[in-house]
Amino acid sequence: MQQPGAAPPSAADSRESAVIEATGLVKRFGEREALRGVSLSAERGELVAIIGPNGAGKTTLLSILARIQKPNEGGVRWPRGDVGWVPQQAAVYNKLTVSENLRLFARLEKVADVEATVERMLAQTGLDDRRDDPVSELSGGNRQRVNIAIGLLSEPEVLLLDEPSAALDPRQRERLWEFILDLAARGTTVVYSTHNVQEADRHANRLVVLADGELLFTGSPRELEGAVGSTGLDFEQAFVAFLRQHGH
């Protein structure tokens, strides 16, 4: 795993070692262009944060990478293995227990050993003691862990997370990030969108800054601060200044 905040490899190196790569993505909804020629790549074990103001196109980009939507232009090179996708709202059945949810999706994913996979995910998410609890009785943080665990059932090479820590309190958020960082440490490429700029600063090797569907920046958090040029700003202030410089 790369250390969060570390400088990303050069563009050429990046293309060669990229696990997932999108090039020139354009997505239109009627007259509106949600994405305008966005390119992105991520390496094995890399943590890529997609940030930007509301309506920037973060969810649209993730949904194209997750094969939920098709781009009008451009293309995506997906890994040979699976791509896990974790939607912002927990996509789980509230009437089913934690283990029943995992078992159902493991069967639908046609994993080889359903029970072993369920046990592994329960252990990995730390929800073993809540296995028989209906999901409706879990806290928001635990529900999100189940949500992520379902995205990991097929042992994907790339995990896409749409605002994974939204609506979580700080303690739940911290536990969630421990879990995600552990995944990346095991070699899973994690691409996530977030509104929380500090979170991106702390937990990303690479930032992808979108605004109005346009790719404004790709690089490390430190490179973004450097691009702003001002000193004495914290990362969030630097990010806001960067957007202003680019007319957003």
Binding site: I68, A91, K95, E100, P134
Partner: protein, 446 residues
């Protein structure tokens, strides 16, 4: 797909209130209809003031006694009589709601009938607060009076015929305590013929007696025709019923088909619409269609789930109805075909509603808002509205599964016609509504 099916059944099992509603609702409907069709309508309370003296309860017509009480008892079978002692009491009972109507029989009724100079009259007072019951009482009393009239007319006809027979063939008659011998036309003809033989052959009286004999014969022959004429007067119009369209389904059996169709519709449409919309509300839809299951596969799963549940509930309901109504169990395979195709049609309609609305509450609301009007429209009989409006109703009924399901169930349960047409109609509707649902899924997750 089977894992999704099992998942939905598991979720249903953990929603006891919903399952109770889905199972109990049709059973309650079945029991209510069964109870209603196995009992006659509640007898209305009618205040009766019979002022005819005890001694005058029997009517004597030409030596024959007609017991008025016999007709009174027939009326009492159709109503709950409340005997009263005065006209005021009878009217008070109607005014204060103790009785729906009052029937006042005047003391001179039998006397008037006996003389035959003027018709007997009875008075009826109604309480019209409940128009349905008032109409029922009115019809019941009218029908019973009509029956009495018919019976009395028949009796009068018989008496008239006996008089005519007496005139034709002769005999004895008792009248006002005295017995009379009536010669009769037949005897008169015979006497005249014998008298004629004793006259000289050239007597002019022979020709005159010939005329008398011919008249007597002609009169007798024509009087013999009176039997038929008077019988026609007694019942001038007889009704011969012929069914041109539809079967001869008894009301109770048709009620079973209606109850079953209603329940099938509600259970299946609500369930199918709800379980599809639930996939979106649980945010699972996009996760499922990312490659785990196709959109069409998901629809087929929801349609199958709803049809299976509806089939189970319908069979339970038929079992309950069977306690009240005779059902032709040997036609069970046809019932099964009608229920399965009906359930599939309703389920496809349900997923179309669920796909369009995308929310469980909105889906349930729309399901009820569509189902009720199409059910009522499908029950509008031809002739009840103008021809143009009925054509519109027929078209609307044809694009929803209620009418073909009712026709298929009626055909299966009651042998009321061909079942093939309705089943084919339902199969087409199933495909059409599933296609609509599939189109709706394009924007389902947005």
């Amino acid at each position: 797909m089977r894992w999704l099916l099992l998942k939905d059944l598991q979720i249903l099992r953990r929603s006891p209130f919903l399952v109770a509603l889905l199972v109990l609702y049709p059973i309650v409907i079945a029991l209510l209809i069964g109870f209603a069709v196995s009992r006659g309508p509640e007898k209305p309370r009618v205040a009766i003031l019979n002022q005819v003296p005890e001694s005058a309860q029997t009517l004597s017509l030409a030596g024959e006694n007609v017991d008025i009480d016999k007709y009174t008892q027939q009326l009492y079978k159709a109503i709950e009589p409340v005997p009263v002692q005065s006209r005021k009491e009878a009217l008070d009972k109607v005014k204060n709601g103790d009785a729906l109507a009052a029937l006042i029989v005047p003391p001179d009724l039998t006397q008037k009938l006996q003389t035959g100079l003027e018709p007997g009259q009875v008075e009826v007072f109604y309480n019209a607060e409940d128009p349905v019951k008032a109409q029922f009482v009115r019809d019941t009393i009218k029908s019973q009076v009509q029956d009495a009239n018919t019976a009395l007319t028949k009796k009068f006809t018989q008496i008239a015929l006996s008089y005519l027979k007496l005139i034709s063939t002769g005999g004895r008659i008792s009248l006002l305590g005295q017995t009379f011998d009536v010669l009769g036309l037949q005897n008169a003809e015979r006497i005249v013929t014998e008298a004629q033989r004793e006259l000289p052959k050239d007597s002019a009286a022979r020709a005159q007696l010939d005329q008398v004999t011919r008249f007597a014969r002609l009169a007798r022959e024509n009087l013999n025709l009176s039997n038929g004429v008077l019988a026609s007067v007694g019942t001038p119009i007889r009704v011969n019923s012929h069914v041109i369209k539809g079967g001869s389904t008894p009301l109770s059996s048709f009620a079973v088909a209606i109850a079953l169709t209603f329940s099938l519709m509600f259970v299946t449409v609500l369930l199918a619409a709800g379980v599809l919309a639930l996939e979106r509300e649980e945010n699972a839809f996009l996760r499922l269609v990312r490659g785990l299951v196709s959109r069409t596969g998901l629809l087929i799963e929801k349609v199958s789930l709803s049809a299976i549940c509806a089939l189970g509930v319908s069979l339970v309901m038929l079992g309950a109805l069977g306690l009240f109504v005779d059902l032709a169990w040997h036609r069970f395979p046809l019932w099964l075909a009608a229920i399965v195709l009906g359930a599939l049609g309703f389920a496809a309609m349900g997923v179309a509603i669920g796909g369009i609305t995308r929310e469980v509450r909105a889906a349930s609301l729309l399901a009820v808002m569509i189902s009720l009007p199409i059910a009522f429209l499908a029950l509008v009989p031809s002739g009840a509205v103008s021809a143009g409006l009925y054509d519109v109703i027929r078209v609307i009924s044809a694009i929803f599964p209620f009418k073909p399901t009712l026709e298929a169930l009626d055909a299966a349960l009651n042998k009321s016609g061909s079942i093939g047409g309705p089943l084919l109609h339902l199969a087409i509707l199933t495909v059409a509504f599933t296609a609509i649902a599939r189109l709706a899924l394009r924007r389902f997750a947005s």
